[in-house]
């Protein structure tokens, strides 16, 4: 039952990622074709463009949502692959805890970076 719920969340996270990462990829890597959300022109990673996107609260919120969805989807997928190798039960438990700690740690760090980045951009 628990695994069924986690799998359902895995699929839901995949749907969120498909939309948000698709948008992120289009902004960052199809810029010559689409040129969206790069108001300063030039390259999408130029500081002026980073600031322009960072000033938007909507962008900041979607960064955090994408971060959470991608960490869960990726680390749960990795857990499934590792569990298929049939490790001993204590190792399964240890792996789960390591992945939870990595996920929660990176989520807190990434959320801090997105929020402070939003404040830095707003002051620029």
């Amino acid at each position: 039952m628990r695994d069924q719920k986690l799998w359902t969340w895995h699929l839901a996270a995949g749907a969120i990622i498909l939309f948000l990462l698709g948008l992120h990829m289009a902004i960052m890597h199809l810029d010559a074709l689409l040129g969206i959300f790069n108001p300063a022109g030039g390259h999408p990673i130029d500081w002026a463009n980073v600031v322009a996107r960072g000033q938007s609260l909507a962008f900041t919120v979607t960064y955090i949502l994408l971060l959470g969805a991608a960490l869960f989807h990726g680390l749960y997928g990795l857990r499934n692959i590792l569990f298929e190798l049939d490790p001993a039960p204590p190792l399964k438990k240890a792996l789960s805890w390591v992945l939870i700690l990595v996920g929660v740690g990176l989520f807190i760090f990434g959320t801090w970076a997105a929020w402070v980045g939003h404040q830095v951009a707003s002051l620029t």
Binding site: G14, A32, L33, D86, V116
Partner: protein, 145 residues
């Protein structure tokens, strides 16, 4: 004597590519896993690298300078290709998981009509869309810039 914990039919990583006469879906499955692991590895580093924008323009520019150059452009393109494959094939798997477009269950008699008539066209359509994205991505990465 230690009890054998292994389950039958569990081939481990070897089973991704070998251990039987696999059809095309098995190789899509293998590629889905390889691209997923690659994207996860990139993403974990990406979170750390891009967090430098929280420290201001100087830190951002220094951070971006460390990951620039032709090799990184090629690497980013491979990430784009992995994303295109994982996203589109993942969408196909999402529909299959929900039972959409995979045909009615019938007795599995060779040549497996539901597989050939209902599921294979989805796989071919997905591959076609991935190919288009890979080409457009290559143009954007290497030609239009």
């Amino acid at each position: 004597m230690e009890k054998d914990r292994r389950h039958p039919n569990r081939l481990g990583i070897w089973g991704w590519v070998g251990g039987g006469s696999w059809g095309p879906d098995r190789y899509l499955y293998t590629l889905h896993r390889i691209t997923g692991l690659g994207l996860l590895a990139y993403f974990l580093v990406h979170v750390v690298v891009t967090s430098s924008r929280a420290l201001g323009e100087g830190a951002w520019e220094a951070s971006m300078a460390r990951v620039s150059g032709p090799l990184f452009v090629l690497g980013e393109y491979l990430v784009f290709v992995a994303f295109a494959f994982h996203a589109i094939n993942g969408l196909r798997l999402f529909f299959a998981e929900l039972g959409w477009g995979i045909g009615k269950p019938i007795e599995p008699i060779y040549p497996y009509r539901t597989c050939l008539d209902d599921q294979r066209p989805w796989a071919l359509g997905a591959l076609l869309l991935i190919a288009v994205l890979v080409v457009v991505g290559a143009l954007d990465f290497f030609v239009w810039h």
